[in-house]
């Protein structure tokens, strides 16, 4: 029997809509039998080299980085990361330029024996025994020049191992470890994270923690905090521990907009001082009367809040983030970072301009120099990295997909850092730039392929 009534019932309307939704999917091409995404994937290799150079004969480095990523299926992912860096050049010692030539010792005088063969030792007021250096190499910094320890040279080898996988429904767990080795610094750390998806994967809540243990074994030993530089009072290796945690929320706000909010906290303890940094002792005339080894508190806690956004605007993608951090050394910082990815010639080529602005306030114990007219403070540092400064990064990245499995990219960036305070009115220092701007240049080449 054939019927004439053709008004669709509610069930049929629902079925029509469901059938439409099923069939509206793009047809699969017949030869390309799509594999389920829980299949094992090829090994993804990311190989890159990076060249970093600071102006005015300061640091330069060559880095090689290889990242391997293997998806064993069903999001069970193993990550391996290896890096080799070679650094050389001059690093500011912390001493200010003066109108007279200045002479310093490299930290590399390593003889721990007196000429008669007996070990030279020194006992601190706290009872700790330290060795005193006997022979040192000296170098002279000319009038008005920023004192740099130009003998700086180091190599770093580092490796990371990580594993992540789904855990029951909607959960992910990840574990990772990191090892790094330098001549004067060893670091080992581990991290663990847990995340859970809610709300049909539109919301992800993550919690992670990490612990790091470092051993500092400076060339020539660890200087006694705040001690007179000419005494070269140095002791043995020191340690440092860092523990931290992060709480993150990722939310899909619209079809083309994803946002992320992270709250981080970490706490360091142990040896947080830079063993190679000193502070000029300046008299009321502006003349250097001596130098002190720097001294920093033996604990530091840092907090930060980060808000990131990725917004797809047509075929372009805007990535903009804000970060605010504070620490109990009295320093705070703010970062604005923006990247804009623009596809060119289809999707095989893209250019991504990058702008970043950063500013920080100085640590409480930071000063360009200390005065010989007052008592030497317990904590002191003239490390430019603890000064108040602002920094701008301008750069771009160009990437090109050679085929389905190969992508190459080049990143070029310029960086400029300007200290807020870099002069003094004292007669002996007037007219000198005590904390000159730092300019640097980064070039990175990357090749990503599937093996």
């Amino acid at each position: 029997m054939q019927l004439t009534k053709r008004v669709p019932g509610e069930l049929r309307l629902g079925l029509m809509a469901a059938a439409c939704a099923l069939l509206v999917q793009p047809a699969q091409s017949q030869e390309a039998v799509t594999l389920a995404s829980d299949d094992e994937k090829p090994l993804q290799v990311d190989a890159g080299v990076l060249y970093y150079k600071e102006s005015a004969g300061r640091i330069q480095s060559y880095d090689a980085i290889v990242t391997l990523r293997k998806d064993f299926g069903d999001e069970h992912i193993l990550g391996l990361n290896g890096a080799y860096d070679s650094l050389s050049g001059g690093s500011p010692t912390g001493a200010v330029p003066t109108k007279a030539a200045q002479t310093f010792a490299t930290p590399s005088g390593t003889s721990l024996k007196a000429t008669n063969g007996a070990p030279v030792t020194y006992t601190t007021s706290s009872g700790r025994k330290v060795a005193q250096l006997e022979t040192v190499t000296v170098y002279t910094v000319s009038t008005g020049a920023l004192p740099l320890d130009t003998g700086f040279h180091d190599q770093r080898v580092a490796g990371d191992l990580s594993w992540s996988q789904p855990f029951e429904q909607n959960n992910h767990v990840a574990l990772g470890g990191h090892l790094s080795h330098e001549q004067d610094f060893q670091s080992i750390s581990g991290n663990a994270s847990f995340s859970r998806d809610f709300n049909a994967k539109n919301t992800t809540l993550g919690l992670s923690g990490n612990a790091e243990f470092d051993k500092v074994s400076p060339v020539g030993g660890v200087p006694v905090f705040g001690s007179d530089y000419t005494q070269l009072l140095k002791g043995g290796d020191r340690n440092k521990q860092v523990t931290g945690g992060q709480l993150g929320l990722t939310q899909v706000l619209a079809r083309n907009w994803i946002t992320q909010l992270n709250l981080s906290y970490d706490s360091s303890s142990g040896y947080l001082t830079d063993p190679y940094k000193i502070v000029s002792v300046i008299n009321t005339l502006g003349v250097a009367t001596g130098y002190r080894y720097e001294s920093r508190p033996e604990s530091r806690s840092r907090r930060s809040i980060y808000l990131g956004n990725k917004v797809a605007l047509g075929r372009t993608v805007l990535d903009i983030s804000l970060r605010h951090g504070t620490d109990d050394w009295g320093s705070s910082n703010d970062t604005v970072d923006a990247r804009y990815r623009i596809p060119l010639l289809g999707d095989d080529l893209y250019i991504e301009p990058h702008l970043r602005y950063y500013q920080q306030t100085a640590a409480d114990f930071y000063s360009l120099f200390v005065s010989s007219a007052a008592a030497i403070p317990t904590y002191l540092s003239a490390d430019p990295r603890l000064a108040a400064f602002s920094a701008k990064t301008v750069g771009f990245k160009v990437g090109m997909k050679l085929d389905q499995d190969n992508e190459v990219s080049v990143r070029i960036e310029a960086y400029k850092q300007d200290a807020k305070v870099h002069s003094s009115t004292l007669a002996g220092l007037s007219g000198l730039d005590l904390n000159p701007s730092l300019q640097s240049f980064i070039c990175q080449l990357n090749w990503r392929f599937n093996y």
């Binding site: 019927l3 009534k5 019932g9 029509m16 059938a19 939704a21 099923l22 047809a27 069903d74």
Partner: protein
């Protein structure tokens, strides 16, 4: 999986490409005299049918369905196509008030529709019913986790889906009229210049004599019936469509229900849902305003 494809002329302007897929005879009728073109288009349809069969057949140990069934309750991530099919199955389950259920396949372990005349005991059926129910699996697109012991079967959707997919692929490559027919489930892009396709519906339990000749000009058409698959005990005929609530075949359903609709998927589901209504099949189809032909 590749297989044989034969091409023959059926009329002056009609070529047929025939092959076997999903355990049934398949044909693609193309309004052309160009046998070479017909072979090319037929190959497109056949490749798609074989692709879908390989991907979703529960008889293939490497199919997605087999892997889900062997997952032992572990969550699995589905690709877009599998996820769409499962979404569709979920929607059909919901629309039918639970009557249509892609997890009902395990009930087959109790029923053998080979005409042998054996009805399983209630204990066996009850035990199997513990392993049935779409509500028991967790489907959080694109993650599925199917509890141990349960089985998924796209048998009630897969062939119709393959028909619509194959037609879409063939129609993308030509303008002429095409009819894709996989074992009686069919779809066409449009009628040939000479007038609508004429489709014969076999009368159940007679020797392939066409009882009905239907005009078919657009969309999909599908038939659900127990022509060859039934058990008859003491004069009661148990069809192969099982009621997931009782674990027993639906009683009082027509021998066959043929539905015409916008797509083969829609037609096939409408026919299946009508069969599940048993004695109410015709009423149901009338209420839903579906173009249909029932044979009792």
């Amino acid at each position: 999986m590749a297989g044989d494809l034969a091409v023959s002329m059926r009329a002056a302007q009609l070529c047929a490409a025939t092959f076997t897929a999903m355990s049934c005879p398949c044909e693609v009728l193309i309004e052309t005299a160009d046998a070479q073109a017909a072979r090319r288009l037929g190959a497109v349809a056949a490749a798609e049918a074989w692709r879908i069969e390989a991907k979703f057949s529960r008889y293939r140990p490497d199919s997605i369905i087999s892997r889900i069934n062997a997952s032992g309750g572990q969550p699995m991530l589905l690709d877009d196509e599998s996820a769409s099919l499962l979404d569709f199955a979920a929607r059909c389950h919901e629309l039918s008030g639970g009557a249509f259920d892609v997890t009902s396949g395990v009930l087959r372990k109790a029923w053998r529709f080979d005409g042998s005349g054996k009805v399983p005991d209630q204990v066996t059926v009850d035990a199997l019913l513990q392993r049935v129910g779409f509500g028991r699996l967790s489907w959080n697109p694109p993650h599925i986790s199917l509890p141990q012991g349960m089985e998924l079967d796209f048998g009630g959707i897969g062939k119709e889906y393959a028909v619509d997919r194959a037609l879409a692929l063939v129609a993308m490559q030509c303008d002429v009229a095409v009819l894709v027919n996989f074992g009686g489930d069919m779809a066409t892009n449009h009628a040939p210049a000479t007038g609508p396709w004429s489709v014969g519906v076999e009368r159940p339990d007679t020797d392939r004599e066409a009882r009905l000749l239907l005009d078919f000009a657009a969309g999909g058409m599908a038939t659900s019936g127990d022509t060859h698959r039934y058990i008859e005990v003491d004069g009661v005929r148990y069809g192969h469509i099982l009621d997931v609530k009782t674990g027993f075949p639906v009683v009082g359903a027509p021998r066959s229900v043929t539905v015409a609709a916008g797509s083969c998927v829609e037609a096939g589901l409408m026919a299946t849902l009508a069969m599940l209504q048993g004695v109410r099949a015709e009423n149901f189809l009338v209420e839903q305003g579906a173009q249909h032909w029932c044979l009792r």
